[in-house]
Symmetry: C2
Subunit: 402 residues, 2 copies
């Protein structure tokens, strides 16, 4: 049609409308796909999920005709409550849990409920890009807090709160991934968890604990108890999901939070109840088989992690440093200061078929971390990981980064 | 714990945070459940969905390990594009479609992108309560436009736009359910659709067409073409879903909209891609069997509608008026002016086990329509519908409404 007849929405968008991102038909992935935190594709329990689904459909399938409880399928919320009590020392009622689309939707709901443009959110100095994206979309002033291999440095956290307050800005949340942190891989110690709770409580700042990787323990010490369990003041919000222990395509995660926050988060949730069809399958499968499945996938991932660490040693030697995670899905690779592996990412993907995410993706300031990369070992086989890391080292050499 | 140690979120909520609604453990439903627009529970194609799911898992199940395209499973978007072209004369690419959680999430996304507090949204004088709720949550000034059995009156629509403009408010959207309207049941004529497009275009107001019931044709004339297909200016947004033709618990709906709007709506979407597990099942099932299934459920619903209309005649006679819908899922019941069946709703549910929604739920002003009720015939059997409507008439008599 002639352009002059076209309708313009330009003056109609709301002030809160996000900027659009051009849509793309397909997202390019590498043969060696170390970019996204996928679980092992070959371990997804198809048969168990289908059997579970069929059982649920026989017993209560007609309830698919009904709009489910807005907090999600009650038996799955009961399962989650039991699991949280057993594994994370979190004692909440199924009524205090909302199921959502992965953990991403619950994180979105909590950010919407708490963050106005300009509000300060404190996060680890490198952290999950999805949360950074949501915080930015809601206009947060996102500030990184220095970490070492035990989590945020308490002095740095306290300093960041004090600084924000002295600027007339009250920090609205501390977001942390304390266990098998994404992307850095460390686990926050018990002492650091206690220190975070103490500092947060004293300054009146709530904590959002993202525990998505807690089940993916490969070796090392048992994990410290959850931050939520250490907080007597009822100021910690907690999210996790089935994405890493069953599959992201199931799109089921969950949140528990102080009651008044949860009431508001539920209203902010869009799309009604979390998917009942997928919840049926996850509930029936998980009740009998999830524990054994987690052991099985951790055996698989341990071999993959070991393959990646070995391959990094063989191909990078002392030309780089990298984390040795005891769990989770990624290795955090550091090249010498001054090298830039973030900006060559697309070239490496196109020319060498190796995918990764540059460190800048995980930087609260959006500019630090050029010489870092996150390498996920969940998707490829150990053999492919060996090939892919060799290819990656070659790519970095050829592109002048090593 | 002692109350004084409790953390207070009171000063931490964002300005845009919705008010919380107290959560409830269970939502009470009547034995005769005419309240919610459920499809027939006994017609849900469990076997077909499971077979479709199994086929998809065999062929591409490992992709559940991958975070899917943010717009949703591509083959299902292709199916939707083909169906829209064939059935609704809407010709868009699968790249111009986003799958969401039912139609509710797409409606939420579009409202977030367009509505600031105080913006005017024009809707039919009674209309779907879910959209009214979302519009109110985003602070819209929601105004009803008078309708007759052919849709909004063009003069009333033009008058409402002119009035808003003269008040310094530009209407941001016209929301309409043109086919088997919820709750009133009429279908907008072709002439009215053309008039709406002409008026909307002339005043620069976009249309949001909600076509969730279009497949549920029971009898009467063939439906007019979609509003989207009549709008050459590219100003119409269109949502629909699989909730009424497969099941709400599948939680899959979709939206197509002008490209720049869709770019923004995608960013506003939370929770990543729509559920892949459910999309697999819907896609495989729909490709071969959806058309026949729709014919089958319409046969079932026709008998239920006829049962409800007959029971209304037998039990209400000339003491009330009601719609005679040619499709969709509900009858719109009107009692004499002055009677109030909205405020006795909970009593009728508790004492007589009959559920319905009072007319006020569907009123843009939140106060009109006390003497109306929406009665859905999807859930109960024809026999139960006869019993339930008799019970309802008795309840209205006993409670002083008839």
């Amino acid at each position: 049609m002639p352009e002059e007849n076209k309708f313009s929405f330009e003056n109609l968008y709301s002030r809160r409308a996000p900027e659009g991102r051009p849509r793309v038909s397909t997202v390019k992935r590498g043969k060696y796909d170390f970019a996204v935190a996928y679980p092992d594709p070959k371990s997804i329990p198809f048969d168990g999920l289908v059997e579970g689904l069929q059982d649920a459909l026989r017993v209560e399938g007609e309830d698919l005709a009904i709009y489910a409880h807005p907090q999600g399928y009650a038996p799955l919320r009961e399962f989650v409550a039991d699991k949280l009590a057993r594994d994370r020392n979190i004692h909440v009622s199924p009524d205090d849990i909302i199921l959502g689309d992965g953990s991403g939707q619950p994180i979105h709901m909590l950010i919407e409920v708490l963050i106005d443009p300009g509000d300060v959110a404190l996060v680890e100095d490198f952290v999950y890009s999805g949360t950074l994206g949501q915080l930015r979309r809601f206009g947060a002033d996102v500030r990184g807090v220095e970490t070492d291999n035990e989590g945020m440095l308490p002095d740095a956290l306290e300093g960041a709160i004090t600084k924000a307050t002295s600027q007339g800005k009250r920090p609205k949340m501390i977001y942390t991934i304390p266990t098998y942190q994404n992307p850095m891989g460390w686990t926050m110690t018990l002492e650091r968890r206690k220190a975070m709770v103490e500092i947060a409580n004293r300054h009146g700042v709530p904590i959002l604990e993202d525990d998505c990787y807690a089940d993916l323990r490969l070796d090392g010490d048992a994990q410290p108890t959850s931050i939520h369990s250490l907080d007597d003041s009822d100021s910690t919000m907690y999210v996790a999901s089935f994405s890493k222990i069953i599959a992201p395509g199931m799109r089921i995660g969950y949140v528990t939070a102080p009651s008044a926050v949860l009431d508001r988060a539920l209203v902010a949730k869009s799309g009604g109840s979390a998917n009942t069809f997928a919840s049926y399958a996850i509930h029936r499968y998980s009740t009998g088989q999830l524990d054994a499945h987690i052991e099985e996938i951790n055996d698989v991932q341990r071999a993959k992690r070991d393959a990646m660490l070995a391959a990094l040693g063989e191909n990078f030697g002392d030309r780089a440093e990298w984390s040795k995670p005891n769990g989770g899905l990624f290795v955090w690779l550091k090249l010498p200061d001054g090298s830039d592996i973030t900006s060559i990412r697309d070239d490496v993907l196109d020319k060498y078929d190796v995918g990764y995410h540059g460190g800048v993706n995980f930087a609260p300031d959006g500019t630090s971390g050029k010489n870092y990369a996150r390498l996920c070992y969940g998707f490829n086989s150990p053999e492919e990981i060996h090939e892919g890391i060799a290819q990656l080292a070659q790519a970095f050499e050829n592109e002048g980064a090593l």
